[in-house]
Amino acid sequence: MELSGLEIKVLKCLDTTEKSVDDIANKLGLEYFQVLRTVGFLKLKGLVDIREEEVTRIKLTELGKKYLEIGLPEKRLLELLDQKKEINVRDLQQYFDKSEIQTAIGVLKKKGAIKIENGVIKLLKKVPLPEQELLEKIARGGVELGEVKDLLKRKKIIEIVKQKRFFVKLTEKGLEIKKQLRDENVIVKYDKRVFNERLWEKYPFKEYEINIPVNPARAGKKHPYLRFLDDIRRELISMGFQEMEDYSMIISHFWNFEALFVPQDHPSGEMSFTDIFVLEGELKDFDEKLYEGVKRQHMRVFGKWDEKLPRIPMLISHVTAISARTLQKVKIPGRYFLIEKVFRHDTIDKTHFIEFSQLEGIVLDEGLSFRDLLGILKELITNIVGAEDVKFYPAYFPFTEPSVEAYAKHPKLGWIEVGGAGIFREELLEPFGINIPVIAWGLGIDRLAMISLGIDDIRDLHSRNLYKLMK
C-alpha cells in the first residue's frame, strides 16, 4: 500500500484506542487541519475509524484577554482606591473607558466595597474578586458552564463556542499495516540496525528536507584578542626573538623607574603617584649590587637618591621594566621580546582602560648603530603592522638616546603612530655590566588589535559581552 510520509507519521502514533485529532497534532507538532486531512485519507484507505462529537467550550473574547492582562475594571478601580482612598467620579475618565466606569462602580457597590457621596467614591473595605481568577482559569481551559454564569451576564468578556471534535483509532487493517511499517517502505533512522539487517539492500532511505534551519553547533574558541597576540608572537619568533622569562605583575618602583635611569623627581614621602598603581608595604626584588650600581649612576648624573622610593611595590606600568630585568642574564648577540599586561592609573573611558598589553623587545650585539635600530624597527613594523611605508621622527624617552618614534602608513588608516625605539643609555647599562649597544623598541599593539578586530572601544578588548563571544 502506498502511504505518504505524513500518513506514515500519523499512522505510527495511532493505536486501537481513540485519540483526538488535537492531541495528535500536538504530539506531532503539526497543524490541526493537516492532521485532519491526513486521517481523512487514512479512512478512505480503510486504516482508521473516525468518530465525530460536538463539544461546548468557553473562550475569552478579545476584551476578556485584555482584562486577563490588565485586570477587570472593578479590580483596577479597587487598586486605584487602595492608593488614593477616594476619588471623584468625574476623574475616573482618565483611568477607564467610558463603558467600564458603570460596571466597575456597580460591581464594587454590590460587594459593599465602596460608597459614593456627592460624586466622590470612597473605599469602605477591600473585597476579594473571584471573577479575575476565573478569567485565568478560563484561559487555562477546563471550566464548567455553571461556573461562569455571572461573567456571561456581563458584556463580551467570554463567549461560548460549539465545536466539532474528531476521535480516531486504528482499524484491524490499520493495525496490521502499522506493524509492517517498520520493515516496509523506507529507512528513516540511520542506525546500526541498517547494517545488522542489511536494510539498505532492501529499502530506500527516507529523504530529508536539507534546508530546514538549524542553530550553529556550540564550539570552543580562543579569545579573538589573544589569538591576535598569538599571531604576533609567531611573527616575532620567526624573526629570531626569544620571549622574556621574567615578567611579574607586581614589581618594585626600582625596576619600573630607577633601573631604567628615570630620575627620582619626588621624595617617597609625598606618595603623589598619578600615573601608576601602588601597593602597601615594601618590595625588594632586586640584587643589592645592582641597586648600588644604579644608585651610583643616579647620584653622578642627577645628584639625588631616595632610599625608600625604589622599594615601593607597584603594578608594572611598562614592559620596559622587564627588558631591564632581562639584561641580568642575556646572551650576546640576542633578541628578546615580551607581550604582557601593564597597568596605568587613568580615567576609564572609550579610549582608556587601566589595563592593557604592551609589546616590547631588545636587540643586543656588538657594533649596533642607529641605522640598525631603524632597520629593525622598519622590519618589525612591516611584518607586524603590515605597513606600506615607515617614517621616523625624534622622540624622548628617559631610558634611550637617541630615541625615535615611528609612523606607519597603514593600508586603511593612512599615517599612524605605531611605536618607539631607542638605544638604551649607557648610564642604564653600566650597572648591568653591559658595554655594547642595546636597542630597545616597543609597538602599540592594542591600537593595532582594535583596527584588526574592528573594535572602537578599548574596553572591548577584554571580554565584556559574553553573548558576543558565544555567537
Binding site: 556550540r218 564550539a219 570552543g220 580562543k222 579569545h223 584578542y225 589573544l226 608572537r233 620567526s238 629570531g240 626569544q242 620571549e243 622569562e245 611579574s248 605583575m249 607586581i250 623627581d265 609625598e270 606618595m271 603623589s272 598603581f277 601602588v278 601597593l279 608595604g281 618590595l283 603594578l315 640576542g334 633578541r335 597597568f343 580615567t347 587601566i354 589595563e355 650585539d365 657594533g367 649596533l368 648603530s369 642607529f370 641605522r371 640598525d372 631603524l374 624597527l377 622590519e379 617614517k391 621622527y393 625624534p394 622622540a395 624622548y396 628617559p398 637617541p402 638605544i423 643609555r425 648610564e427 649597544p437 578588548l461 577584554h462 571580554s463 565584556r464 559574553l466 553573548y467 563571544l469
Partner: protein, 549 residues
C-alpha cells in the same frame, strides 16, 4: 606632555622668515613635537619632550627652528646686565618653600602675542615641570611698582592682608585659600603649615603669595607692561633655575633686556638668572659608532651648530658647548642624537642586522598554549578578563587578609588584584544576563594573593560550566581529560571551600601538592551578585604544574 598654542603670524615674525603651515608641521616633528590642530592663525603644538621646558613656548620653538633652517646656528647669545636689585630670603622659609630665584626684564614689548605666550609658558611650566606648582611656582610682576629690596619670608596666615589678582577686596592669606578659585585649587600645597610664604617689597606692599596667587597691584602685568620682575619659588634649586631660565630666554628673544637679581640667603649670596655655557668632552668614536654613517668631521660640527650647540673635534675627543637651558645633555649618546636629528631621521638609510638568533617561547607560554588548545577542543570559550577586580566580589570568595589592595584605585570595580580568575568571571557574568545555555568558558591568566608579608603571583587556568542544571562531574570530566592530555595525574581531596557547596567541592592535588580546586559554586555567593545560574568550576595553578614538571 604639554600642548601649547602659538600664533602663526607671531611665529613667522619671530623667525624672520615666511613659513607655511605644511612646512611647519613637518619641521615641528623634527623637534619632538607634533601639530595637533590648526585653527585659523592659531596652531596647537604638542611638545613631546617632557624634559625640555625651554621648548614650551613659541620663542623656544623658534630658537630651535632657526638652527634647523640655518637662519641662526651655534650657541644662541644672551647678555645679562648686572642689576641693582636685591631679594632677601628669611631663613624661616626653609621649612616651607626654601628656594627662590628672580630676574628683571626691561624694555620689553610684549603685545598681545607676547603676553599670552608668557602666561601660557608660565602655566605649562608650573603644571607639568613644576608638578602642579608643588615643585615650582612662577610669578611675573610690574617692576615699576616695586620698591627694592624685596623680601621672601614666611608669615602668620592671618597677619597680612592684600587684594589677590583679579579680586576686588583685601583678604588675609588664610582667606585667600578659601575665597579665591586658585586658593581652593592649590591650598593642599600649604596643608599643615603654620606659616605661609610671602613676597613683599620695602614699602610693605605684597607682591605675591607663592605658590598661590599674585597681588592685584604689583603682581598684575598686561600686554603693555614694559618692565617685569620675575620670581620663581620651589622645593628644588635646580628646577627653580631651569624654570627661571626658560622664562628669561623667551623674554630676551622678544627683545627684553635682562638684569640680574641678587638673592641673599642667610648663609649665601647668589645672583640669578645664570645663563652660561657648559662643556662636555666625550669620545668622538663612540658618537660615530652610534651614528653608523661615515660623516666628515666638519659635517658633524655643522650639524651640531644647527642644534644650537658648538663643537670642536680633536683626535678621538669631541668637546660640545651648550647653554645651560639644555641640561638634558649628559653623555655621548645625547650628542649623537643631536647630530642625527640635524641630519634628519628620514634621510638615514636603515640597515638590517644580519646576526642569527634563535626565536622561541618560554616554557610557561608553551604549556599555556597547549592547555588553551585542549580547552578549546573541549568546546570551552576563552575569556580575557581584567586582572583588577572589585574588593567586594573578591572578598566574597577569599578571606580579605589575602587580598592585594591598590592604595590609589580609580574605580571601586577595580580596586584589588584578583586572587582567583573566578572573581573576574563573576564580575562579568553579573553584567551578562540571559546567555545561551549550556555555556562553557575558560581563561588562563595571572592572579596574586598576599600571604603574611609575601605577595604570591600565580598563573592559573579557570574553567566553568553553566546550565539550568549542573553537576560536579561535568567539570570533573574536563579535568580528567585535561590531565590525560598533559600526561599528569591528580587526586581530589574532599574539602569545603569558602565559595563551594559543602560536600561538593575539593582541592586538586598533584603529587600531593595543592594545585587548585573544583567546586559547585554556592548559590549564596552567586545570589549576592544577582546571578541565578547553577555553575560548576575548577581552577588549577599553572605555576605549580610548571614547578612539578
Amino acid at each position: 606632555m604639554p600642548t601649547i598654542e602659538v600664533s602663526h603670524k607671531d611665529l613667522t615674525r619671530l623667525l624672520g622668515k615666511e613659513i607655511t603651515i605644511e612646512d611647519l608641521e613637518n619641521l615641528i616633528l623634527h623637534i619632538k613635537g607634533e601639530v595637533d590642530e590648526v585653527l585659523g592663525d592659531i596652531i596647537k603644538i604638542e611638545v613631546k619632550d617632557t624634559n625640555r621646558p625651554d621648548l614650551w613656548s613659541v620663542e623656544g620653538i623658534v630658537r630651535e627652528l632657526k638652527g634647523i633652517l640655518g637662519i641662526e646656528t651655534g650657541l644662541p647669545s644672551y647678555h645679562i646686565n648686572k642689576g641693582d636689585y636685591t631679594l632677601i630670603v628669611d631663613p624661616n622659609v626653609q621649612e616651607i618653600r626654601p628656594y627662590v630665584a628672580a630676574a628683571v626684564v626691561k624694555n620689553i614689548k610684549l603685545g598681545k602675542h607676547g603676553f599670552s605666550s608668557l602666561i601660557q609658558l608660565q602655566e605649562k611650566i608650573m603644571s607639568t615641570f613644576g608638578r602642579k606648582r608643588r615643585k615650582v611656582a612662577i610669578g611675573t610682576h610690574n617692576l615699576d611698582l616695586i620698591k627694592f629690596p624685596v623680601y621672601y619670608k614666611a608669615v602668620d596666615p592671618d597677619s597680612v592682608k592684600f587684594t589677590p589678582l583679579y579680586e576686588s577686596s583685601e583678604m588675609t592669606l588664610r582667606e585667600v585659600l578659601d575665597k579665591t578659585e586658585t586658593g581652593r585649587k592649590y591650598k593642599h600645597l600649604l596643608e599643615g603649615m603654620d606659616k605661609y610664604p610671602l613676597l613683599i617689597d620695602s614699602k610693605g606692599e605684597v607682591i605675591s603669595f607663592p605658590p598661590i596667587i599674585n597681588s592685584n597691584t604689583i603682581g598684575k602685568i598686561s600686554e603693555n607692561t614694559r618692565n617685569i620682575f620675575i620670581d620663581v619659588t620651589g622645593t628644588d634649586l635646580e628646577s627653580v633655575s631651569i624654570a627661571l631660565n626658560s622664562i628669561v630666554l623667551a623674554l630676551a628673544d622678544r627683545g627684553g633686556e635682562v638684569y640680574s637679581v641678587t638673592i641673599e640667603y642667610s648663609n649665601d649670596v647668589i645672583e640669578t638668572p645664570v645663563i652660561e655655557e657648559r662643556k662636555l668632552s666625550t669620545s668622538y668614536n663612540k658618537i660615530k659608532r652610534i651614528i653608523g654613517m661615515d660623516l666628515k668631521d666638519s659635517c658633524i660640527v655643522d650639524l651640531l651648530k644647527k642644534r644650537r650647540l658648538s663643537a670642536e673635534i680633536k683626535d678621538n675627543e669631541i668637546t660640545i658647548k651648550y647653554l645651560n637651558y639644555r641640561n638634558d645633555i649628559i653623555s655621548a649618546q645625547d650628542v649623537a642624537e643631536e647630530v642625527l636629528i640635524a641630519y634628519g631621521y628620514n634621510k638615514i638609510q636603515p640597515k638590517t642586522p644580519s646576526i642569527y638568533t634563535k626565536g622561541g617561547l618560554t616554557k610557561r607560554r608553551l604549556l599555556i598554549d597547549r592547555i588553551r588548545e585542549i580547552m578549546v577542543g573541549m568546546r570551552a570559550i576563552e575569556l580575557y578578563t581584567p586582572v583588577l577586580v572589585s574588593k567586594d566580589v573578591a572578598g566574597s570568595l577569599y578571606d580579605k587578609k589575602y587580598l592585594i589592595e591598590l592604595l590609589n584605585p580609580v574605580s571601586t570595580q577595580h580596586n584589588v588584584v584578583r586572587p582567583t580568575l573566578l572573581a573576574s568571571f563573576l564580575q562579568i557574568l553579573a553584567n551578562n544576563k540571559g546567555i545561551p545555555l549550556p555555556a562553557e568558558f575558560f581563561e588562563v591568566g595571572i592572579t596574586a594573593i598576599k600571604r603574611n608579608l609575601r605577595r604570591i603571583e600565580e598563573w592559573k587556568l579557570f574553567y566553568t560550566y553553566l546550565d539550568s542544571e549542573v553537576s560536579f562531574n561535568l567539570a570533573k570530566e574536563k579535568l580528567e581529560r585535561l590531565f590525560v592530555e598533559i600526561h599528569k595525574k591528580y587526586s581530589l581531596q574532599k574539602t569545603d571551600i569558602k565559595f563551594g557547596i559543602p560536600g561538593r567541592s575539593g582541592r586538586i592535588l598533584i603529587d600531593g601538592v595543592d594545585a587548585g580546586w573544583i567546586a559547585e559554586i554556592h548559590p549564596a555567593i552567586l545570589d549576592k551578585l544577582d546571578i541565578d545560574l547553577p555553575m560548576v568550576c575548577f581552577e588549577i595553578s599553572i605555576s605549580t604544574l610548571l614547578k612539578l614538571s
